[in-house]
């Protein structure tokens, strides 16, 4: 009996695998999870709808925007609202960039465990370019909380297209180098080929989706099966493997990164124009002064002046609002110029932020109608579904996350039994277990 205990050198998070060995061969195995259980579902019952968004970031923390998008689209489905087109394109672009960071981290870490440290360093370098891009747009590198119910936080900054093209070009160079280092490398292929095999029927019986399933030959992708946002207008292929072993999963992920970058480039070409420039005619005053004047009651002037937004609110100027947020008063916060400039905006903001009944102020929060929805999106590991039950108040009654790597971990004993101890490492690396998602 051997215990690959919770804290082990494979940098994939904490999990415990108890192996029963016969020499070097594995006879039986038992997987124990739950070491990162952070009670996402219980916390989301205590918070308002918008306050759950930071918790969703930390579910699959290598591709945070995909979780945000999934949750917000589920709540939008409850409301029955659709977001403007430009916002949909922006969500697609950011999701695909997140997916590239996910696969980069997965392949980099699993290559490092097999000894290919250089590949890991190259991939993390490429990931840094993408993190810089995300920081330009959202303000944070990792836990972004970029998407809101009914829109996104702010529009793309000026010069984004140019920077993205540069970043993608550099990433493609890195991928080409890593491809040369790994794909035909005798040692890498010998350690990954025909190891950790799972058949199509077993994978479907366990409810597995994502690159794990596609490597066995089933081309199921949520973006094709139930298209959401603008995926039905974009042209991309779904890489499908044949053998269902580790090497196929690695090749699937490498190819998926290329397809994601293709999607980003197409989306950048197709995206409808935002406001050509933020209208800065008339008098321009800094935002802090505008707030002070509004508090003193001099709001007539604000109708004609333009306000220079603060750096944290960049991209959320009032002129940009029609392209990034749906026209839905029940769910979307009004632009700051309205909040400070006229009484309707202020009341709208007040009703949405103050939680129901607190201090007797009669606030509202976001209140979707009573009902339940299930909304699947394609995460880095497979189908990420959000099942939300609403009872009409401002807190969700139940938020359930369908974690993509949960069934994969349930099927892990099938992949490793019959193999040797050394095969556990590459198999586990190709599973891409993300603790935040598995244990929630």
């Amino acid at each position: 009996m051997l215990n690959m205990g919770p804290a082990h050198p494979a940098m994939h998070g904490i999990i415990r695998i108890v192996l029963e060995l016969d020499g070097e061969n594995i006879v039986k195995s038992d997987v124990e999870i739950g070491y990162l259980h952070r009670a996402f579902e219980k916390m989301s019952e205590q918070s308002g709808y918008l306050q759950v968004i930071p918790y969703t970031d930390r579910l699959n923390y290598v591709s945070p925007i995909i979780n945000n998008v999934g949750y917000c689209m589920a709540v939008e489905k409850l409301f029955g609202i659709t977001v403007p087109e430009r916002c949909q394109y922006i969500r697609v672009i950011m999701s695909e960039l997140s997916r590239v960071t996910d696969h980069l981290t997965c392949i980099g870490a699993s290559a490092m465990e097999l000894g290919a440290f250089t590949a890991f360093l190259y991939m993390i370098k490429a990931r840094e370019y993408l993190y810089e891009l995300m920081e330009e747009v959202t303000g944070a590198r990792l836990t972004v909380s970029y998407v809101r119910v009914g829109g996104i936080k702010g529009d793309l900054p000026a010069g984004f297209e140019e920077k993205t093209r540069n970043a993608l070009r550099e990433t493609r160079k890195v991928l080409k180098e890593c491809d040369q280092l790994l794909t035909r490398n005798r040692i890498f292929v010998d350690r990954m080929k025909d190891i950790g095999v799972i058949t199509k029927e077993e994978a479907l019986a366990y409810g597995i989706t994502g690159p794990f399933l596609r490597s066995t030959g089933v081309d199921y992708d949520v973006r094709r099966a139930t298209p959401y946002l603008v995926y039905d207008r974009l042209n991309f292929e779904i890489p499908v493997g044949t053998r269902g072993d580790n090497l196929d999963r690695y090749l699937c992920r490498m190819e998926e990164m290329e397809q994601s970058m293709r999607i980003v480039e197409q989306a950048l070409k197709q995206i409808p124009q935002g406001p050509l420039q933020v209208d800065m005619e008339g008098k321009v005053i800094p935002a802090a002064e505008a707030v002070d004047e509004a508090k003193m009651g001099q709001t007539e002037k604000l109708a004609t002046t333009r306000v220079a937004p603060d750096p944290t609110l960049e991209g959320a100027h009032k002129d940009q609002y029609p392209s990034i947020e749906a026209k839905e008063k029940r769910a979307v916060l009004p632009a700051k110029e309205d909040t400070y400039g006229n009484i309707e905006g202020l009341m709208n903001h007040f009703k949405m932020i103050m939680m129901g009944g607190g201090f007797g102020m009669g606030g509202h929060g976001i209140r979707p109608p009573k009902g339940e929805v299930y909304f699947p999106v394609e995460g880095g590991n497979g189908e990420l579904g959000f099942y939300i039950v609403s009872d009409g108040t401002d807190r969700p009654y139940r938020v359930r996350v369908r974690p993509p790597c949960f069934p994969i971990m349930a099927a892990l004993p099938i992949c490793i039994e019959g193999g040797t101890l050394a095969d556990v490492v590459p198999t586990f690396g190709s599973v891409n277990m993300i603790g935040g998602e598995l244990d929630r």
Partner: protein, 161 residues
Amino acid sequence: MEKIHLRIKEKFGGAVLSSHDFRGDETAVIRKDSLLEIARFLKEDPDLDFNVLMDLSAVDYLQFGETRPRFEMVYHLYSLRKNHRVRIKVPLEDGEPGVASLAAIWPAADWYEREVWDMFGIRFSGHSNLKRILLYEEFVGHPLRKDYPVNKRQPLIGPKN
């Protein structure tokens, strides 16, 4: 093809308590005794062909404001060939013997049911290995129930801060 939830209602009549189509999600609420039978039908019928169990979970309706059975099991099924989905709900009272395990039909149900036992305390008859999966064995209680306070810690070591 007619709607799935109407098809289930037509075939199983009294076992289906209600069904709806809110926001395009087809849902059928069924009696717990006919769960195994309906599950087998959904998997084997060639027109429906639900070969993938996507999600299995439960909801505690204690504070919902309506008088109804306390728990409700929720099953999300997907058909790969036909590309359609259905949601099956099974209401349960608290303290009942529980509900039949679907692990024989879809092996995916195994771990999902362990998680429901861990979080809600619903037993599954016919499950081979019903023990806690996300929390440790020394934990007392079932945290996702509405009457479990969110802050009640049961530390293994260290203070109860």
